[in-house]
Amino acid sequence: MILFENVSVTYPEAAAPTISGVDLHVPEGELCLLAGRTGSGKSTLLKCVNGLVPHFTGGELAGRVVIGGRDTRDHPPRELADLVGYVGQDPVAGFVTDHVEDELAYAMESLGLPNTVMRKRVEETIDLLGLADLRGRALAQLSGGQQQRVAIGAALTAHPKVLVLDEPTSALDPGAAEEVLAALHRLVYDLGVTVLLAEHRLERVVQYADRVVLLPSCESGDPGPALATSEVAPPVVRLGTLMNWDPVPVSIRDARRAARGIELPASTPAAAQPATGGRVEVRGAKLRYAGVPALSGVDFTVDSGERVAIMGRNGAGKSSLLWAMQGTGALDSGTISVDGVNTRKAKAGERRKHVGLVPQQPSDLLYLETVAGECAQADRESGAEPGTARGILDRLAPGISGDIHPRDLSEGQRLALVLSIALSARPAVVLLDEPTRGLDYPGKAALAALLRGLEATVLVTTHDVEFVAEYADRVVVLADGEIVADGPAAEVVTASPVFAPQVTKVFPGYLTVEQVAEALR
């Protein structure tokens, strides 16, 4: 169904091809998962499938891509629309209309299908993906998981034989990700749709995959063996490799079976952090946003040097809390103080000496043409010695050239740059809003280690339970603007199956593969 023959793609002005020598054959009805580090060309390969590369992006494509008998060389994306459904990284960016039903019909309108067919297919898709409650709603009002399901539905109404998905669950909370994956599972099993998807959060999808293709090497095989030797293995696969299980399990169920009878000593709690950093007190924080309560009376205290993870569904008030703590965000009532200082009353320049915040889109902070320029500007803003920010950046992410444009940095490097800008003011508290988006496993491990090493109190909002397991001492769970759980990371994440990391599900009491390795030694 999908055939790549010796495909290489070189973007204009790029020194080296983004992908090279790709040979790939995905037969009909298979769910094939692309895995690889950030920047290994996963998105580029996906865009080749429906001809967006090179027809839309420019660049040079060598070799041949044939989808269902049509060569993408002669068929631009619009001529493949009846054959390939493509759902990009950000579903919202691809929405053309404003309402769920209109969006579902858009592709069919373009294909010129008669009204009776359209009505029928919209109803079928609504049933298939469980969208009945949403059909009359405005797209802007849906949650992330709902938007992602609508985007998939909108691709499906054209009855494509191939569905291409770029990171369908990366931005979603665990519950919403389950919704999307259940829908995908149904498509593959019931309708026989061929699915090709790329994902960083392998732990969520790998058990559904028939085959894994690793980039850039383009080796492919059964998920377990293929990932066992890869840098981007999910925790359960790394655990299997560590324990020498054969075959390497990809699902929790298989891993539990393999682990039967293995007794590990009780886990030792991680060494306490040195208590350097600010103390944060939040008292009765309330905020309404567009008529909906974002925070409804939040009380908690963060001690000096704690590593806190704030979790909760999309829209649970996590970001609002972070912004209010920094002092730039609004707060209707209540007080927030850092080391006794009310940050909301301080001036912007003063504020960042107490609290540094890395927003969800780090690039919002950047506006100069070079990394060196941004670092120098940060030193001026912080009143720090020239070279301070650059020094921090070299510690966080060594080897970034000063002449490079911030837009050309990888996701992880850009995060490091913005974090360096925040740290140049030597804040006592550092806040990060969803920093793990777009980071692969090695990237997340590096970030966790980096955050643990900072001489400041750190709070992070995230959906990523595996990251929380590696990084946090303490977890606060928000729901509808209220704290519903607060305690040591090991206790909170193990209490609920939704928040439990994979290792905990196999060996209760352990959070990470490293802890298990330590215990075996």
Partner: protein, 345 residues
């Protein structure tokens, strides 16, 4: 969706109401027109992003009134007897004779420019009502197939523009994190524009991936016919609205223009193989809405008494009964149009 009024009906209603407002400088009538538009918007707007545009346009209108008053104070125009105060007059060279800068400001002049500004504000309020009530994207869907390329470009713009506002706010907030509250344009423009460009490209890619533009472009002949026709229609409309020229000539040009445009649309429409999902239909509520909007416009054309109150000598203008009653008829859509379904969150 079945419970939506055809967007074109809203536009005709609002434009007709605006035409009525543009024919009068009577402050009572103008206030009434603004109130009528406001009531219908409050009763029938949806929860879509632009449903708030009535207030935005109303603010534009207030700004227009203020601007008109300031310009009058500076430049004068209408002379009168009741001098309120005098601004220092700037002597101008001989060649600028007839232009006055500064000088006495009269109550009559202020009242005249106030009425004039209010007329513009009422017109803007009607436009705002149309924007708030009619989903522009649905209006574009009802556009004839020949104009498809144009309507797609507008769709991309309409989608990206509100996002642009959101991203300006986001970047501004982020800028404070750097301790930089000086709102220098460059520091905001760079991230916002790159963001907007990325979004437009992503949207265009999504449209292409979903089959937009499959059956080849429309013909040049059709495009030319449509353009000429629409230009003609604009001139005709201007002739009608202006009120100083012969109305018959305006009407003839308008009809001719629409004829040309229709011919172009028919020729062009044959080439595009596109269908519309659950097209908006034109039923009784649409007819009633359009008719209720046309009533005040017609009444004011037929009974022009009291539409342009005198401002010298100063007196409180009277409220002409028939035009006021006509304006009240335009409230009808607030009752007959289907109530929008509001999403519950």
């Amino acid at each position: 969706m079945p419970d939506r009024l055809h967007p074109a009906a809203w536009w005709v209603w609002a434009l007709a109401l605006g035409t009525a407002a543009s024919r009068t400088t009577n402050p009572w009538l103008l206030l009434l027109a603004v109130a009528v538009a406001g009531y219908v918007v409050a009763a029938r707007r949806s929860d879509e992003p632009w449903a708030g545009s009535y207030l935005v346009f109303l603010k534009f209108g207030l700004a227009a009134v203020g601007f008109r008053l300031v310009m009058h104070a500076l430049l004068g125009g209408v002379e009168g007897e009741t001098v309120l105060f005098s601004l220092p007059e700037v002597p101008l060279p001989g060649w600028a004779k007839g232009i006055r800068l500064g000088g006495p400001v009269t109550a009559e002049g202020v009242v005249a420019s106030l009425y004039d500004g209010m007329r513009l504000a009422a017109l803007l309020a009607c436009l705002g009502a149309a924007n708030a009530l009619a989903n522009p994207k649905r209006l574009l869907r009802s556009m004839p197939a020949a104009l498809y390329e144009v309507s797609v470009a507008v769709t991309v713009g309409l989608t990206v523009a509100p996002q642009l506002v959101a991203s300006v706010k986001r970047v501004w907030r982020a800028r404070e994190l750097r301790g930089d509250t000086k709102r220098r344009a460059r520091t905001v423009l760079v991230p916002v524009l790159t963001d907007a460009l990325d979004r437009s490209l992503a949207l265009a890619a999504a449209m292409d991936s979903r089959g937009y533009g499959r059956r080849g472009p429309g013909s040049k002949l059709a495009g030319g016919l449509v353009l000429a026709g629409l230009l003609g229609a604009c001139f005709g409309l201007y002739g009608l609205l202006d009120g100083t020229g012969p109305a018959a000539a305006g009407a003839v040009v308008l009809v001719l223009g629409f004829g040309l445009a229709t011919a172009g649309l028919v020729v062009g429409g044959r080439r595009v193989g596109r269908t519309t999902y659950r097209p908006d239909r034109w039923r009784a509520p649409e007819f009633l809405t359009v008719a209720s909007g046309l009533v005040p416009a017609v009444v004011m054309a037929v009974f022009p008494d009291g539409l342009s109150p005198a401002f010298a000598p100063l007196a409180l203008p009277a409220l002409p009964v028939l035009p006021a009653a006509g304006l009240l008829v335009a409230l009808l859509p607030g009752f007959v149009a289907p109530a929008p379904s509001r999403g519950t969150k």
